[in-house]
Symmetry: C2
Subunit: 351 residues, 2 copies
C-alpha cells in the first residue's frame, strides 16, 4: 500500500504536472501499467517544434533544483527562447515511485527500473504529449547525465545536442560499489522492514547515515578542509550535516531512493551494442559537451574524458568547483556562470 | 568480560612478544593499569643503541604486514643493519585492546585512547625496556603516519628521521567524516549490542559493510576500473570483496576497530601548540620524508604536501600506486621498490 510523504507535494515542489504515458514494459520484465511522469515546463514550444529541451533529474533530485538554479531568462536555459521540459525520473517520488504506486507494485513490490526505461518513457511523452520528434538539447547531471547519454545513443536522430554533466555513459565499478554502500545505510536499518515500513520516519537513522555517506563522497576533501559550508551560513561541520545534508535526505522515501540507486548502479549505454562502449558512443550524432566537475570524487574527470574521446565531434568541458559532485546544487557563485557559458556555446552550435 | 578471538593469536600473527609498560594514564582521563604492548623485533640493537627503528601500525593492521612485506635483508628496513621494533598500537587486538582487556576496562568499558597515548607508551617501551634514547627512524603508514608525526613533534630530540607514509599530522575533517561512516557500519548492527556482543560473529553483517566501505575509499576509482584485483587471482569484483576484503575485516574485533577509529579521527599534533599546526610541525628536527600515495582517496597528496611544506628540511616523496591508500598492503610490484628507494635515501641521510 502506498504511503503519504509530505515532501513529494506541490507545497515543497511548486508547480508540476502529472502526465500519464500509459503502460510501460520494463527492461527487467516488470510492468508499470499506468506510468505517470511528473513534469515541469518552462517557455513555449514554437510552431516548428524544434526548440524543446529535455532535462532529466538526478538521484534524489527533482525538477525543483533545475527550476530554481539553472533555468531562467538570465541563464542559457532561457525559457524566452527554449521550451524546457524537466522530467522527473521514475522512482524519484514525484513520478511513479514505490511510495506512491498502486498497491500491486507499491513499496517492496516496485519493479526494477533501468535508465533505458526512463528514456523510453520520456521519448514517448515528448512525442505523444507534445508532438516533439527531435530535441534541441538533452542536459542532465549525474543520473541525469546517464539519461542524457541514453537518449543520445538510443535515439540518435532525435537529439541535436547533449550535455551530460558530472556523470558517465557506462557506470563504473567504483560507482557501483559506492552506491551499494549508500543502499546499505538504509537496508541495514531494522526500521526499513524489507521495504514495508509504515512511514519513512521509521527509517530516519538509516536516512541520516545515508546523508553522511553523501558527505564523504558527494563533496570533495577540499570542500571540508576549506570549510566551504561556512558560505552556506553554518558554523560547524556538524551543524552543516544536521542542518543541510541530513534533513535533505530524511525527508525522502527510502524505497524511492533504493529504486533510483539500483538504476544508477546499472546505467550503461553499451547494453545497446553487446557491451561495446565505443560502438555505443559511436552512435551518437548529437553535438556533445561532456562536462565533468574537476573535484568530483566518484565521477572523476578521467572517467568522463575517456568516454568523451569516443564521441565524434564532442568536447570536454571541465567545470571547476571545489564542492565536487554536489557542485550540481549550484551553490558556488562560480558554478552557474561556467554552466551557462558551456550550454550557451552548445546551444549556439549546429546540432 | 574479555572475549576470545582466534585472529589475534600467534597462529595468525607469528612471533610477537607482550611487554608490559605499566600504568598508562590517558589524555582523555582514563587509565590502563597494566598496558601491554605487543611488539615484534627484527635485527640486533648495537652497543651504541643508535640503530633502532620504530614502526607503529595502522588501522586494522599489525606488525604482520611490516614483517612480511617491508622488513628484510632485501629492503631498506634491513635487520642486518637496523634494530627494528614494530609496535602494535593500543586497541589493535594484539596490544591491550577492548576485546582482551581486564574486565574493568573490557569491551564497551574500554577508555578512549589517543595517538599521543600510544606514542607515550612507545617511548617508555623503547627507553625503559630497550634503553634506547634516540631513534634512527620512525616510519609508519596511515595511522602509523599519525604516530610517526606525533613522535617527531612530541619528542623532537629523540627522533633522527621520520617517514610518515599515506597519513597526516592533523586529521582532516573529510577523514573524520569518512571514519564516522566506517564506525557506523558497525554500530548500526543490532548484533553490536552497544559493544557487549558475545562474539564478533554477532556483528558479521556490520563488519562486512565495513569492508565494503573500505572498498569505496581504500582503493582508487582506477583500481576498480582497471580490475587490478585480477592480479590477486580473483575473477570478479564480487569475488574479490568476498574473498579478500570481507574476510580481512570479519576476522577482527568490532570494539577494537572502533577504538582505533576514534583515535584516528582525532589525530592532531597541533594539540601540543594550542591548535597551531605550523608551530607544531616547526618543532620537528627529524629529517623527514613525507610520502603520500598519489591515488589515495582520503589522504590526498595535497593534504600531505601542505603539511610537508611546514617541516624544515623535509622532502615530499610521492609514491605512485593505482591501488590508492591500500597500496600500503604492498601488493603492487612497483610499490616496495619505491618505498625502499625513499627509505634507503632517508636512512643514508644525516639524521
Amino acid at each position: 500500500m502506498s504511503i503519504e510523504n509530505a515532501y513529494y507535494t506541490h507545497e515543497f515542489h511548486g508547480d508540476f504536472e502529472l502526465v500519464g504515458i500509459g503502460r510501460l514494459e520494463l527492461e527487467e520484465g516488470g510492468v508499470i501499467d499506468d506510468c505517470q511522469l511528473a513534469i515541469a515546463t518552462f517557455g513555449t514550444l514554437n510552431d516548428a517544434k524544434d526548440n524543446a529541451i529535455v532535462v532529466p533529474t538526478w538521484y534524489s533530485g527533482t525538477h525543483q533544483i533545475w527550476r530554481d538554479a539553472y533555468i531562467g531568462s538570465d541563464h542559457a536555459l532561457n525559457p524566452d527562447e527554449w521550451f524546457i521540459v524537466s522530467i522527473n525520473q521514475i522512482g524519484n517520488g514525484l513520478s511513479t515511485s514505490p511510495h506512491n504506486a498502486p498497491d500491486a507494485i507499491s513499496m517492496s513490490k516496485f519493479p526494477d527500473v533501468r535508465i533505458g526505461d526512463d528514456v523510453v518513457a520520456q521519448e514517448r511523452l515528448m512525442r505523444e504529449h507534445f508532438g516533439v520528434e527531435r530535441l534541441a538539447l538533452v542536459v542532465g547531471g549525474s543520473m541525469g547525465a546517464q539519461q542524457t547519454y541514453e537518449w543520445a545513443v538510443r535515439f540518435p536522430d532525435q537529439v541535436a545536442r547533449a550535455a551530460p554533466i558530472a556523470g558517465t555513459a557506462h557506470n563504473t565499478p567504483h560507482d557501483f560499489l559506492f552506491t551499494r554502500t549508500l543502499m546499505e545505510t538504509i537496508t541495514c536499518d531494522p526500521g526499513w522492514s524489507d521495504g514495508e515500513y509504515k512511514s519513512s520516519d521509521d527509517v530516519v537513522a538509516g536516512l541520516e547515515r545515508h546523508a553522511r555517506m553523501w558527505g564523504v563522497m558527494g563533496f570533495s576533501t577540499e570542500f571540508w578542509k576549506q570549510e566551504v559550508w561556512r558560505a552556506l551560513d553554518f558554523d560547524s561541520m556538524e551543524a552543516f550535516l544536521e542542518g543541510f545534508l541530513q534533513p535533505y535526505f530524511t525527508a525522502m522515501d527510502p524505497n524511492d531512493l533504493l529504486t533510483m540507486a539500483w538504476k544508477w548502479q546499472r546505467g550503461d549505454v553499451a547494453r545497446h551494442t553487446d557491451g561495446d562502449l565505443a560502438a555505443a558512443l559511436g552512435r551518437i550524432t548529437a553535438k556533445t559537451f561532456v562536462m565533468p566537475i574537476d573535484e568530483d570524487m566518484f565521477f572523476p574527470v578521467r572517467d568522463c574524458a575517456a568516454e568523451q574521446a569516443l564521441i565524434a565531434g564532442s568536447e570536454l568541458r571541465v567545470v571547476e568547483d571545489v564542492l565536487g559532485h554536489l557542485g550540481l546544487f549550484a551553490v558556488s557563485p562560480d558554478y552557474m556562470p561556467q554552466i551557462d557559458r558551456h550550454l550557451g556555446e552548445l546551444l549556439a552550435a549546429d546540432g
